[in-house]
Symmetry: C2
Subunit: 305 residues, 2 copies
């Protein structure tokens, strides 16, 4: 099955303690596609300017990413420039140029409208809602968001929650959106607004998946070298949705596995700049890392006499 | 089998957003004992002043905690006064009165010297080293430490590392001790100094156990109400050592289970003030929480075709 993603396709310039790159592939839809395409077909809806080096997207096309929904508009592409210092958990934004992204109105091509899995990347919640009027009864709709929209469009996010099955957000955003410091309470608050699935990402501290009946936790993979954290969250979402689209199964057991596949893809994403490491991952590398995740948390709970 | 603990026996006064208590049972050896005694016999070595309400220790004695090594010295008991605000991860120390604890020289009673499991609570590393000259070939020695000793007695801690099998410390302390921000590197650095087991506690973010061959991770239990975090780390250590002392097994599989039992006891500790909740826990409650931990991380790693 295929997964539709609506989000940003950008050019990133990133500086970390280990090096720097300029104008490399970035944006939520790009990281998501590079990740999800290891597992399933991906349909991208986004916008780039007429300056975008679209030939750099070829490796993604070769992996089954369909860019028929990538609009090319007159003007500059979305550019982000950021820096990470010693603490790789904190991105310092040096510059954001929205360019053509500021007038982005997602148009879902007719051949994309029956996609069973839909990921609404981090864009204006009004546009996320509008996308839902253009698709036909998807099996699972997951949205992402960020602090900027929580501050400026909170009522729209709450409205959106009534129309999606799941949301991914980080712990700080969950606290900001719900006014609950405790993440269990924050997740319950969000579920009371609609979604039956809440994924709270904690970066290097792993991720929780809450449903009305269960809680699942996946650690972040303990890497010795984190090279560039940019895009880890979108790579997580790509692995999660890619797994579900590949299996077509949204049972609790499948959702748990999907969180682990997402965590595995997130752990690959940070090993190199941009989508470079994601493009190297094949099914066997992914399976090996998932097995390592299993080894990381496996225990038998027998009580000695 | 029994576990020997050397550490503080104190009186705590604690204020949280949910209430306050004055002069209740506290100290690392107290929390450790309350936790470990659910699983095994505990031998305490510590010191209290002549003002200590020793009758409050009765419930611990009834659970198999042996206080033959608890010295009563002339003077005031160790008192700690602290406060937690909205962020329950951060303890604000309002007052510390060391009292008789400042002249504490641990003396291990003859009948305690063959204890197979030894926990060196957070005291001066020179005293921790001295305790090791008083015990006879224990199966496993685990030490704890804190930022104060890392700042003031770093060479002694490094020396101590050459004489213990394991260390428990929190993530900030691991970074401070090793000068490595990355926890995998920090753990490797510590193992290069002697211990074959490094447990890095991350509070609400769980705990890592590193050995030369494997890494294990246990999440913190996602509680909806954290009432008072005081003593959670010592309750963790108590559950960990108590499990090992009960099973007598220090295989990798047993160590993993021990980390989960430690995490379970840590999660109970924070549900009430002082050791109040720990004293209520019985084997069946503990087994039930361990099963919940299993449910929290369990997944099957099959890859769909």
């Amino acid at each position: 099955m295929s997964v539709l993603v609506v989000g940003s396709v950008a050019l990133d310039s990133v500086e970390t303690p280990f090096g720097r790159v300029d104008d490399v592939l970035g944006g939520s839809a790009t990281f998501f596609s590079a990740s999800a395409s290891v597992l399933s077909r991906v349909l991208v809806v986004g916008v780039v300017g007429d300056d975008y080096p679209v030939e750099l997207l070829k490796p993604l096309e070769q992996r089954g990413v369909d860019f028929a929904g990538l609009e090319r508009a007159k003007g500059s592409s979305f550019r982000w420039r950021g820096r990470y210092r010693h603490d790789l958990n904190v991105a310092e934004t040096l510059e954001t140029q929205l360019g053509v992204f500021s007038n982005f109105r997602p148009k879902i091509p007719p051949q994309f409208r029956k996609a069973p899995f839909v990921f609404l990347g981090n864009i204006d919640p009004r546009l996320q809602l509008d996308v839902l009027t253009q698709v036909e009864k998807p099996t699972l709709v997951v949205c992402d968001t960020m602090n900027f929209w929580i501050e400026s469009r909170r009522p729209d996010i709450v409205k959106l929650l009534g129309h999606v099955d799941a949301i991914t957000l980080n712990d700080g955003e969950a606290r900001q959106l719900t006014d609950h410091n405790n993440l269990v309470k924050a997740a319950k608050w969000i579920m009371s607004k609609g979604p039956s699935l809440v994924i709270i990402k904690k970066g290097e501290h792993g991720a929780f998946m809450f449903t009305p009946r269960t809680v699942f936790f996946a650690p972040a993979f303990p890497l010795e070298e984190v090279f560039d954290p940019t895009g880890a969250g979108d790579a997580f979402a790509g692995g999660f949705m890619g797994y579900l689209a590949r299996s077509g199964d949204i049972s609790d057991a499948s959702l748990r596995r999907a969180v682990i596949y997402g965590s595995a893809m997130g752990s690959f994403a940070v090993e190199k700049f941009s989508i470079d490491r994601l493009l190297e991952v094949d099914a066997s590398q992914l399976a090996a890392r998932v097995a390592e995740f299993r080894g990381l948390v496996a225990f038998q709970d027998e009580m000695p006499a």
